[in-house]
């Protein structure tokens, strides 16, 4: 029960800034990012690791923040979607390509896709279409049918779109 649990404090670097966070040990990283750190761009779409909306970079790797406890994060370096744009505030290549290709509609899944694609395209400069689709297979979008998102990835790799006029 909550009254018997004592809080823990961890030190995390979030989007380049070091922060001390105190929370219940059972509190999910996604909830701590949204509530304690007030970075509400990280969305919770399922809380069971299946939709990818909560994806953030932890030490450079794209992970689902709803499957982690903040208490496990001491010393970690976390990048949320708020930390992806260029330092001058302009959109990153991935973000710009998502916009150019109508890779988002309601935008709720979008932070997860931005993070997933940012990590994937950093590590893969010339992926095949199948590899792109596989890379985002853990992110669910109900609005776009994925076509615009795949086209965005193609644009980042300097390739022509498939199909869309």
């Amino acid at each position: 029960m909550s009254e018997t649990i004592s809080n823990v404090t961890v030190t995390i670097t979030v989007n380049g800034r070091q922060r001390d966070v105190t929370c219940e040990p059972r509190k999910l990283l996604s909830d701590v990012i949204r509530e304690e750190l007030v970075l509400t761009g990280t969305h919770v779409g399922c809380e069971h690791g299946a939709c990818g909306a909560c994806t953030v970079l932890v030490d450079g790797a794209a992970v689902r923040s709803c499957l982690l406890f903040a208490a496990q994060m001491d010393g970690a370096e976390i990048t949320t979607v708020e930390g992806i744009a260029n330092p001058d505030g302009s959109l990153s290549d991935v973000q710009e390509a998502m916009r150019d290709n109508h890779g988002l509609q309601c935008g709720f899944c979008t932070p997860g896709f931005v993070i997933t694609l940012t990590a994937f395209l950093r590590d893969h400069t010339d992926p095949t279409d199948d590899e792109i689709r596989e890379a985002i297979s853990g992110n669910l979008c109900r609005c776009t049918g994925y076509h615009g998102i795949v086209n965005a990835a193609r644009q980042v790799c300097g390739r022509a779109n498939g199909g869309e006029s």
Partner: protein, 778 residues
């Protein structure tokens, strides 16, 4: 006034919504975290039907951090009125709409798994859930009422307050002359088709924060809703707080697809709870399990179809009898098939239709709108077109060609007395046939078959009753104001939840007002600033709100031109408007920018033309000339069916769409793609099944399978642009993608399977196991 298509309408303008959404700066309902907010968790039934024999909330109430625990006795008796603007008042009140009995929490008995029994309010969601676990509930289970046809005669009742499980019915008539026609027709084909129960799954679940301040008698609602005005009116009726004292706000909304159009039971419960509490903001954010288990669902429908066809392949008459379940507590309990029947004849010349339908309550989650609520007509009819063609030995495309409405037939009066006009079903069909290159496909199909591979091709066509304009949906408003600086704001009653309205309406305004798009702000989603409109749904916003924005823009432009004429000492007829400047035609140096005209209107009213009052405000409302604005499309699909695994690979997907004047082709194509993905999901993956005890079997994303990127194709688009009779020439298209895709995919799969003699499947889903079973049986 003639429509001018200028710089912005018809262009794939990039969305102004995107920068904030791409960088994590959207403002969805759960992103607003006001200090002092309390959090709700529901205690829900895990039994489909039964009597509550024990309900003890004392331990939960005692948990530190718990503010209140409410049960049915606390909230249900306080409800004043329970009905939706979109459906109108209840029958008991003299209205025409059927609603289930009123309750926001289970009234002594539970009626579906997920039925909310108690509502916990605590200082955090974590504590609220802890407390919910401490509520003691005991339910004596009863045999649940399940199925689409069995409940019709079942004397066990979902709602003891009613005398039958049938919520609405229109029996299939028996007309001797028609029976004789069927008896003597050269071909008579009968089939039963079934949909798979599906759910909308907006990626943002439902949610709302309600703050009722009893000392001011004011209520502020922030909600994930498609219609702020609906929830505002609903909350006022529910609680008795004057509607003028209720304000509803929706900033960014993460999808809805119909699920966020009407107020559902949990939302009503939270409104009642906050009203009873009378102090702090109360927030409920649905989690995914709740969304899958207890948020409204759709498509649990069947249709018995019989087609009579003459020797040449002309459809002579059809009988269609639809069955559907509306679950226990749908937002309204009427039969969706009523609308489906009206448009069942679709793009074909079907001279006679004999329709019937029956909707039943069951001990499952309530039914509500899901993108194309009436879609069963197209989903079943378009499959039937292939079944009939196959049975009479005709190519399905040829069979469609023989029966399809041609340009010369327009305007076409359907057998259900609808007048179809400004549609192009034969043009979209031919465009898809051409893009598919059907002849080469058939050759490829034969080659593939020789190699042991099964390819199939399917077509689906429809005519959509878009922009439904009756009842509260009759019109949309636009209030336009111009600031002293010459920039305009347009306020709409719409509710964007992915629709790009901020961009597309700005395109409409900038085009018709004659200014830069960056000088137009589009404001929606707040009842305090937006005029009353029914929200976004039913493929209405471009057509009706677009018409309102256009009307307001033209009026504003006329006003500006009159002021300029006065200042320039010219005739209004000699002036033109471009780029936010009014100038004399042919004399560009004689020009006045909007900012100067606006300053005159706001600050120097004595310089205005005779009779013109100060200020720059326009109030416009647009009501389309007809209750439906027809749009149409044809979908074409190529699949490969793996005969070993039953897996279906979608190799090509083509849509030829006529949505009239496109405002933003990129947005149109995005809407199509999203709808098609949902339609494909409904055939291949999505199945919200219940077991025989009424337990839902798909309450996580591991069981309820959404389409993901590897299963989706690149979509190909063809466009036919024929103008509607509405102000901008627009036609609604937000739902069509989801309507025509299920039969296109189903037909392609059956086309593939027919090559090895497998009888056509008729019941969704067509998942791997169903396909393998069919192959093994065939």
């Amino acid at each position: 006034m003639t429509t001018t298509v200028g710089r912005y309408i018809g262009q794939s303008v990039k969305r102004r919504e995107d920068p904030r959404l791409l960088t994590g700066h959207g403002r969805y309902v759960d992103d607003v975290q006001d200090a002092g907010t309390l959090h709700v968790a529901f205690v829900r039934s895990n039994v489909a039907r039964g009597r509550i024999t024990e309900l003890d909330v004392s331990e939960a109430r005692a948990l530190p951090g718990v503010e209140a625990v409410y049960t049915a006795d606390d909230l249900n008796p306080m409800i004043q009125q329970y009905w939706a603007s979109m459906m109108g008042p209840r029958i008991e009140m003299g209205g025409e709409s059927v609603y289930p009995p009123v309750s926001v929490l289970a009234p002594g008995d539970v009626r579906y798994v997920g039925d909310p029994i108690a509502l916990v309010i605590a200082t955090s969601r974590y504590i609220a859930e802890d407390a919910a676990d401490l509520v003691v509930v005991d339910v004596e289970p009863q045999r649940p009422v399940l199925g689409l046809r069995e409940p019709i005669t079942n004397t066990d009742l979902v709602h003891p307050e009613t005398d039958s499980n049938v919520s609405q019915t229109m029996p299939l008539p028996e007309i001797p002359e028609i029976e004789a026609l069927f008896a003597n027709a050269p071909h008579v084909v009968t089939r039963t088709f079934a949909g798979a129960r599906a759910t909308n799954v907006p990626m943002e679940p439902r949610g709302l924060t309600v703050h009722y301040d009893r000392y001011r008698n004011e209520m502020l609602i922030r909600a994930a809703t498609q219609s702020v005005h609906e929830i505002k009116a609903f909350a006022a009726r529910l609680t008795g707080v004057p509607e003028s004292n209720v304000r509803a706000v929706a900033d960014d909304v993460g999808g809805g697809f119909g699920q966020k159009m009407m107020v559902m039971r949990e939302e009503a419960a939270v409104i009642m709870a906050a009203f009873k509490l009378g102090s702090s903001p109360v927030k409920w954010i649905e989690d995914r399990r709740e969304n899958l288990m207890a948020s409204n669902q759709a498509r649990s429908e069947e249709g018995d179809l019989t087609f009579a066809v003459d020797a040449e392949g002309h459809i002579m008459a059809v009988k269609c009898n639809f069955f559907e379940e509306v679950g226990a507590y749908p937002p309204s309990a009427g039969a969706t098939a009523m609308l489906a029947i009206g448009v069942f004849t679709g793009p074909y010349k079907i001279p006679i239709i004999i329709p019937g339908c029956t909707a039943v309550y069951t001990n499952t989650v309530g039914k509500s709108a899901y993108r194309g609520p009436w879609a069963l007509e197209t989903i079943f009819r378009e499959q039937m077109m292939d079944h009939v063609a196959r049975e009479i030995g005709m190519d399905p495309i040829e069979f469609r060609r023989i029966n399809i409405i041609q340009p010369d037939d327009l305007p076409f009066k359907t057998a259900t007395e609808m007048t179809l006009e400004n549609i192009t079903p034969s043009e979209t069909l031919e465009q898809v046939v051409e893009m598919l290159d059907v002849d080469s496909f058939r050759a490829e199909q034969a080659r593939a078959k020789a190699e042991g591979r099964l390819l199939g091709l399917g077509i689906g066509g429809y005519v959509e009753p878009s922009a439904i304009a009756f009842g509260v949906l009759n019109s949309d408003p636009a209030v336009m104001t111009m600031d002293v600086s010459g920039k305009v704001q347009v306020r709409l009653g719409t509710g964007s939840h992915g629709h790009s309205i901020e961009t597309t309406i700005a395109q409409v305004v900038a085009t018709h007002l004659g200014c830069d798009i960056d000088d137009v702000a589009v404001i929606q989603g707040d009842t305090a600033t937006s005029p009353m409109g029914p929200g976004t749904g039913g493929s209405r916003t471009a057509v009706i709100a677009g018409g309102a924005a256009q009307t307001a823009s033209i009026e504003m432009r006329e006003k500006l031109v009159r002021i300029a004429a006065q200042l320039l000492e010219a005739s209004p007829d000699d002036l033109e408007v471009n780029g936010g400047v009014v100038s004399v035609k042919g004399t560009p140096q004689a020009a006045i920018p909007f900012a100067q005209l606006a300053m005159t209107a706001h600050m120097a009213p004595d310089m205005l033309p005779e009779g013109m009052g100060p200020g720059l405000e326009v109030i416009a409302r647009y009501r389309p000339p007809t209750e439906f604005t027809w749009s149409n499309a044809t979908h074409g699909c190529v699949v490969e069916v793996d005969r070993e695994t039953g897996m279906v690979d979608i190799k090509r997907y083509i849509v030829s769409e006529d949505c009239g004047q496109m405002i933003n082709p990129m947005v149109v194509e995005g809407q199509i793609a999203g709808g098609v993905a949902q339609g494909i999901g409904g055939v291949l993956f999505e199945d919200m099944a219940y077991d025989s005890d009424g337990n839902p079997l798909a309450t996580t994303f591991l069981d309820y399978l959404l389409p993901s990127a590897p299963e989706m194709p690149d979509f190909e688009y063809g466009h036919v642009e024929s103008m509607s009779n509405t102000l901008g020439g627009y036609k609604g298209m937000g739902e069509g993608g989801a309507i025509a895709s299920p039969p296109a995919v189903a037909n392609a799969i059956n086309d593939a399977l027919a090559q090895i003699g497998v009888p056509a499947l008729t019941r969704f889903p067509f998942g791997p196991s169903q396909i393998i079973d069919a192959i093994n049986a065939g």
